[in-house]
């Protein structure tokens, strides 16, 4: 009887090799056995297989302890211990590219054969690159080694259904196997098989003896999991640079103060933005693909209104900084500079600080008290304010002389006009001015038919204010379609809900005075229908006039809300007003423009982002520090791989999340909205909506990976986790279960 022991790793086909050899003998009429020593049946684990053949019926039911020959499938298993019990003079066949002579000293009492079965298998596309299946090649080599004719080996292969590449591999190995057919040492040699283990195993009662698993399965791995982090789309898009994912996570954990603290790192206006922000984060929210965007705006409002954080300057500094303009950009810069200890003074041309936050957004969207509270927090850092202080070229120079730095944050003061042929200060008002008068409670429009021209938030705010001030009718005229309107989509919805008509694709052409009814003046606004043509430089399709489509609107008041542009008259002619550039080049004092003046973004959030960046810039200039000026919030980077890339919905495993309705929060009933300036939105009752955040690309400690790791080798460390690679065989379950693409498999 011939007994062969095969050493390989799970998945390499050792048991099948045993069967191939056995079958070749069976087909020649011999009695055969082929079996494996199975254990943890996992890819890569060291395994043994056995083959016996004999002219007599085989009655041995034991493992093979003293084999006639040994075959080693995996080069990493080659070592003296695998030859335990191998009979002197027996063959040892190694899967190795090295010549057999390299191993004769290691196995001096044996005949040695080598064949590069791995290369042969790969060349024939057998198995995968990381786990080539070498058994059919080795079967050919065994044939040559044991003087079994090649046709008997191929007969066995064919009997077991192997075709094509496997036959090629076998015959190539048959030809290529190299043999040293005389042992180096032919002295008599008794290779003792390993003695059976009669020692006691571990007691289950002795916990201390329950050591870690003895097999370091990490050595089998062809892939390893790694932690990566990507940028959530909300963080990436936020003009203020807020860490949206971060504050939502805090809210989801019901840590409202922590959520506010996270927001205040970038923006001093969470309660304001929680009401007035167009929330591009919600437009980019990956959850839209599942069941609707997370209501980030209302959650920011919740954190701003309900959080309590006491912020004090972290240091005291001597440098004085003047900020011109007390809108969101100026005040944000003041906030950040004061937090690190600079002496900041804000100059405001009006009587109230807050800029357009006060006068440009009506009470029903942004109550005055909310603005006051957030401004008070800024002033609480010791920021000084001077109102009714108008800056001109000369006073700007004075400021530059008296201070260590000047930030100019005067926003967009120049209002766009529209020539309607008959300009009447009585008939036509600018939206911003109208809203300012509304804010001062200086105006009513009882029983008037009001037409508002424009498609931005100012147009919507003016229209809705007019409705609340007693207008008989309000209609908005806009020359493109709803899709092109720059106003917040929700505000357009609310405008329509409140009964205001919007005439899309309508261009006012001329205004005519009509006979008065004796109470008020009466106008006729001639409009022309438009059609959308090719996209213009803003990317929006530009409207084209439709001939012969003129029609008239009868009205008592026209409000123009066509947008604003910066007033740069305080700077020398030709000054390039951009963020981060020195404006008064002749002076040593840094003078920078900030906010809408510099960026023309036109949103509160954009102004906040600009204010923060400019504050960091000023600090770097004054202190010599090199604080990174980032456009979007920087999440923790305590990961293996930092991907400076936005994670899109298709990289998320959305199917792992349950659908949940969006928490919209309550609103005032329509009838009340039409007659009061009370805030329309009543806010959220709790933070539950925050739990809908998918935490795209950022670990939020959901611990699915820890739960599903079959080896239990993931350990939570603080807010992160660690892999114990010594036991990680690279199964990939953690990566497959991670819903947010934080765990990725790295091919070794």
């Amino acid at each position: 009887m011939i007994e062969i022991r095969i050493h390989g790793r799970g998945g390499q086909g050792g048991v099948t090799l045993a069967k191939l050899i056995a079958t070749s003998r069976f087909l020649q009429g011999q009695s055969v056995q082929a079996f494996g020593l199975y254990a943890a049946e996992r890819s890569g684990a060291p395994v043994q297989a056995f083959c016996r053949y004999s002219d007599e019926t085989i009655t041995n039911r034991n493992l093979i302890y003293e084999p006639d020959h040994i075959i080693v499938l995996d080069p990493t298993l080659i070592g003296a211990q695998i030859a335990a019990g191998l009979k002197a003079g027996g063959w040892i066949l190694l899967n190795s590219p090295q010549p057999p002579g390299d191993f004769t000293e290691q196995f001096p009492h044996n005949r040695v054969a080598t064949v590069d079965a791995t290369s042969i298998a790969r060349a024939n596309g057998l198995g995968t690159r990381s786990v080539p299946i070498v058994n059919t090649a080795l079967a050919g080599a065994v044939g040559r080694m044991l003087e079994i004719p090649l046709h008997e080996i191929t007969a066995s292969l064919e009997h077991l259904g192997f075709v094509g590449a496997n036959l090629v591999a076998a015959s190539r190995a048959y030809d290529e196997v190299r043999l040293v057919d005389t042992p180096v040492n032919t002295e008599p040699f008794d290779n003792v098989a390993a003695a059976p283990d009669t020692a006691q195993g571990r007691s289950i009662l002795q916990a201390a003896e329950m050591a870690a698993p003895a097999i370091k399965t990490g050595q089998w791995a062809t892939e390893q999991p790694q932690r990566q982090q990507m940028i959530p789309p909300c963080n990436h898009i936020c003009p203020a640079g807020n860490n949206v994912q971060g504050f939502l996570k805090a809210l989801a954990d019901e840590k409202v103060d922590e959520a506010l603290e996270i927001l205040l790192r970038t923006s001093p206006f969470p309660s304001v933005c929680g009401r007035a922000c167009p929330a591009p984060c919600m437009e980019k929210c990956n959850r839209i693909e599942l069941d609707g965007a997370v209501n980030v705006r209302q959650l920011e409002r919740f954190a701003g209104d309900n959080g309590q954080v006491d912020i004090k300057p972290s240091a005291e500094r001597d440098e004085k900084i003047a900020i011109v303009g007390s809108g969101p950009a100026g005040l944000t810069a003041a906030w950040h500079l004061a937090r690190v200890g600079y002496r900041v003074k804000v100059f405001e041309s009006g009587t109230e600080i807050g800029g357009l936050l006060r006068t440009g957004i009506p009470e029903f969207r942004l109550p005055d008290t909310v603005v006051s509270n957030e401004i008070d927090r800024i002033l609480g850092l010791g920021v000084e304010v001077e109102t009714d202080h108008v800056i001109d070229r000369q006073t700007l120079l004075d400021l530059a002389r008296d201070n260590d730095a000047v930030l100019v944050a005067t926003g967009q003061q120049a209002l766009r006009d529209l020539k309607l042929g008959m300009n009447s200060a009585v008939a036509v008002a600018q939206g911003i001015d109208f809203l300012d008068r509304v804010h001062r409670q200086e105006i009513r429009v009882d029983d008037e038919d009001v037409v508002v021209i424009g498609g931005g938030n100012t147009a919507m705010d003016a229209a809705r204010s007019a409705l609340r001030l007693g207008a008989a009718s309000v209609r908005v005229v806009y020359r493109r379609t709803r899709k092109e309107m720059p106003a917040i989509s929700e505000e357009i919805d609310e405008t329509l809900e409140e009964g205001i008509a919007i005439d899309y694709l309508t261009q006012p052409m001329a205004l005519h005075e009509e006979p008065t009814d004796g109470i008020r003046r009466h106008y006729r606004l001639t409009c022309r229908r438009m059609a959308l043509g090719e996209p213009d430089e803003s990317g929006r399709r530009s409207p084209q006039e439709v001939d012969g489509s003129d029609f008239d609107l009868s009205c008592h008041r026209i409000i123009l809300a066509l947008g604003q542009s910066p007033d740069v008259s305080v700077f020398p002619e030709g000054t390039e007003v951009r963020e981060g550039t020195q404006l008064l080049g002749l002076l040593e004092t840094p003078v920078f423009a900030v906010g809408d003046l510099a960026t023309r973004e036109g949103t509160v959030a954009g102004a906040i982002g600009s204010g923060r960046r400019s504050a960091v810039h000023i600090h770097n200039v004054l202190s010599g520090d090199h604080v990174e000026i980032t456009r979007h919030a920087d999440a923790t980077r305590d990961v293996d791989i930092w991907h400076d890339e936005v994670i899109r919905a298709d990289a998320m495993k959305l199917h792992l999340f349950e659908r949940q309705a969006v928490a919209a929060g309550d609103a005032l009933p329509l009838e009340e909205r039409r007659c009061t300036f009370d805030e329309v939105h009543l806010g959220l009752d709790d933070t539950a909506e925050a739990a809908r955040c998918l935490s795209c690309g950022v670990c939020n400690e959901c611990d699915l990976c820890l739960t599903f790791c079959p080896e239990g080798l993931l350990k939570r460390v603080g807010h992160g986790f660690e892999f114990d690679y010594s036991y990680c065989k690279g199964c990939g379950v953690c990566a497959a279960e991670c819903p947010r693409n934080v765990i990725v498999m790295n091919h070794l």
Binding site: A18, K19, A22, T23, F26, S31, V32, Q33, A34, F35, G36, L37, Y38, A39, E41, I58, T59, N60, R61, N62, L63, Y65, P196, T198, A199, Q200, S203, I204, L205, Q206
Partner: protein, 397 residues
């Protein structure tokens, strides 16, 4: 008939499937089955078999696997299943239901150590746990014996004089996963060996009946007695089934016990499964050297062939019972029944128990030699002897 190199699981899967297929002219075949290492290959085989009239039901547990087989059997199908180890433990409640319902279900069990700790290797503790539930039990030592015994099991189980379920057992891996030459009989031969199943108490749509409902003590007593009487008829019916097996297949499926050299032996080894193969080799070698030594392989454990074993021991004075199982607090299960077989008949036999091969340990010829040396040195029998491990070194007291 074709000879093929296949595993024990393959042999079992073939026997179950061919037997099920043979009932296609009657109510067909059915099987609820659930995979467990080392039996999974049987599930795969049965699931792929091209039955003409059968329903293989993949279920969520072993308990349901047996439940499906019970329901199908009651409806007149030839029902079978297979399991192992903790799977059998989970199945247990329905295992007894099948027995007490008198259903001729055939189950193949791959003997695997009950956990914890998790251990996939051979140990008979799993099927011996089921020894008292009115099932016949057979322990096999080779792929061929598994195949032949499984076929015979259907004929025996379905015999009107028996109508009890049968369990065919094999050692995990040593048989289940070892590929060796095995004769797979053609379907036509299996058809001729296994007549259509006629279950007398079959449930029918048009006759509303209940089976196994609440009864008075005395009614139940009579049902238990019927089981005992059926069990007593097994040895004779077995011989009939064995003879017709030989007639059809030309091969002996083996007697309920199988002896080697016991006629003149003064020392007898009693073994089961693949341990018997190894013991037989040792016995033959030693007999060739002149030793008066014999082997009894117990193939049928339920009903226990007490008289046959007693008789086979002849004039032997020393008996070693090898048990690949351990009934905690007692000893080996085969030893208990073997010892009881002599009680009141003969008091001059030293019957010593050796616990060997437990938990999947390899029982080599040298282990058998150690057992024989120990047995020869004894004046009286002692506690069961644990082989292959040092005893008496209690670490926790």
């Amino acid at each position: 008939m074709t000879v093929q190199v296949v595993t024990g699981n393959h042999a079992a899967g073939y026997a179950l499937s061919a037997a099920g297929e043979a009932n296609r002219t009657a109510r067909g075949a059915a099987c609820g089955i659930y995979p467990i290492t080392p039996q999974t290959e049987i599930v795969e085989y049965v699931a792929r078999f091209p039955f003409s009239k059968a329903r293989i039901v993949p279920v969520e547990s072993e308990h349901s696997a047996m439940a499906v087989s019970i329901g199908a059997s009651l409806a007149g199908a030839r029902a079978f299943t297979a399991s192992s180890s903790n799977g059998l433990a989970y199945m247990t409640e329905n295992v007894m239901v099948a027995g007490y319902y008198r259903l001729p279900i055939v189950m193949v069990a791959v003997n695997r150590t009950l956990g914890p700790p998790w251990n996939i290797w051979a140990d008979q503790g799993d099927t011996l746990m089921l020894r008292d539930f009115a099932w016949l039990q057979f322990y096999c030592e080779s792929n061929q014996e598994v195949l032949d015994t499984t076929l015979l099991a259907f004929r025996l189980a379905e015999d009107r004089r028996i109508l009890l379920p049968v369990l065919t057992c094999m050692d995990a891996f040593i048989v289940s996963h070892t590929q060796t030459e095995t004769t797979l009989p053609e379907q036509a031969l299996v058809d001729s060996y296994l007549p259509d199943l006629q279950l007398p108490h079959r449930l029918r749509y048009d006759e509303a009946r209940t089976i196994g409902g609440m009864v008075w003590p005395h009614e139940d007593l009579s049902q238990r007695l019927e089981i005992d009487e059926a069990m007593k008829r097994v040895p004779d019916v077995y011989q009939e089934c064995r003879q017709s097996f030989r007639d059809v297949f030309g091969r002996d499926p083996g007697d309920v016990i199988q002896t080697d050299g016991t006629d003149d032996a003064d020392t007898v080894l009693v073994a089961t499964g693949t341990m018997a193969t190894t013991a037989r080799e040792v016995v033959r070698k030693r007999r060739a050297a002149g030793e008066k030594i014999g082997l009894i392989k117990i193939k049928m454990f339920r009903p226990f062939p007490a008289a046959a074993i007693r008789e086979a021991c002849g004039s032997a004075r020393r008996v070693a019972v090898l048990d690949r199982n351990y009934a905690a607090g007692s000893g080996g299960v085969f030893w208990q029944d073997t010892r009881a077989a002599f009680q009141g008949h003969r008091n001059d036999v030293l019957i010593q128990n050796y616990l060997t091969g437990l938990c999947g340990e390899d029982v080599t010829p040298s282990v058998i030699d150690q057992i024989l040396a120990d047995l020869a040195s004894r004046e009286v029998a002692g506690d069961p002897v644990w082989m292959g491990i040092e005893t008496g070194k209690e670490t926790l007291q």
